[in-house]
């Protein structure tokens, strides 16, 4: 199956589901209108949704996504405690700076989720991204390492390996 067809079918199903969630499903008029409008949306904006093919099957990816969610929550709690410790510390031991990390992810959505996760965890903030060389610039509240590889190990690797299973 071509990627565009797959994308359009996915958008059609999702649009119909959203429409049924918005309206009363017992009314047959709403169902007809929902199907027609889902078709309109599919024709108009259906081809953007999926642009690349994934290697693994859908169930495996869903399980990986759930695992990623809990992993992300755990990292978030750790980072929150860390930043709270820094803020409450009387000496305020911060060492801010901008670091560069490299990522091995290739898909756009994976990079987007990675950068958003880095921004959401307290203490780190994505500043800019270079899509050609896969480099992400991050503002850190506490810089430990100076080389690119060490920073990648500390900041990026936490999320990267599960994201690779979800999206690659």
């Amino acid at each position: 199956m071509k990627v565009e067809t797959k994308s359009r079918i996915t958008v059609f199903i999702l649009a119909a589901l959203v429409w049924f969630a918005l309206t009363d499903i017992k009314d047959f008029q709403e169902v007809i209108a929902g199907l027609v409008l889902a078709a309109v949306v599919t024709l108009l904006a259906g081809k953007f949704f999926i642009t690349t093919t994934k290697q693994r099957g859908v169930p495996h990816r869903i399980i990986a996504a759930v695992r990623y969610f809990f992993n992300f929550l755990w990292e978030m709690i750790k980072a929150n405690v860390h930043v709270a410790f820094i803020v409450l510390h009387p000496m305020l031991p911060i060492k801010p700076g901008i670091v560069k990390i490299k990522t091995k992810l290739t898909k756009d959505s994976a990079i987007t989720i990675l950068t958003n996760s880095i921004t959401l965890t307290p203490g780190t903030l994505t500043v800019d991204i270079n899509p050609d060389s896969k480099e992400i610039y991050i503002h850190c509240i506490e810089v430990h390492a100076t080389t690119v590889d060490e920073n990648t190990q500390q900041i990026g690797q936490r999320f990267e390996h599960i994201l690779a299973e979800v999206f690659e």
Binding site: V11, L22, T23, V41, A45, T115
Partner: protein, 149 residues
């Protein structure tokens, strides 16, 4: 990267994944204009904002290939004509201009209120197209200016 080539990868990805949802919501507001708050004006702006989202995120060239601007211009002028046509049909069927000549249906259902949903759709198309075209032409004007300098 030039300014009219769009924004970073993150903005592009989020736009790509969410534009269908915004358009669907705009259509929902237009179609339920006679039952809930909203209607052609509000829903039209939502659709125009969805197109504008793509224009800001992906840049001028990509949007031009996606949306077929001459078709939008024809829709923009055509919807005014269509509004008048619906009104003129009222003369033949009910005796006065813009009379409500379609069967009313029962209250609180989607297919009710005669010509009102029809006119709502026409107004929604009109508002969406005209507002998007203004921003489109403004962006084109800006690019021309930059190229001259």
């Amino acid at each position: 990267m030039k300014s009219h080539d769009g924004m970073t990868l993150i903005v592009k990805t989020v736009t790509r994944l969410s534009v269908w949802l915004i358009i669907l919501y705009g259509l929902y507001i237009i179609l339920h204009g006679h039952l809930t708050p909203g209607g052609g004006f509000g829903g039209g702006v939502v659709i125009a904002l969805a197109f504008l989202n793509v224009l800001l995120a992906f840049g001028h060239k990509f949007t031009g290939e996606w949306l077929k601007i001459p078709l939008l211009e024809k829709l923009e002028s055509g919807s005014t004509l269509l509004f008048m046509l619906v009104g003129l049909l009222g003369i033949f069927y009910a005796g006065s201009f813009l009379a409500n000549y379609i069967i009313k249906g029962s209250l609180y259902h989607l297919f009710s209120a005669g010509t009102i949903p029809l006119l709502n759709i026409i107004i929604g198309v009109k508002v969406a197209m005209s507002l998007f075209l203004v921003v489109w032409v403004m962006a084109a004007f800006k690019i021309e200016e930059e190229e001259e300098q």
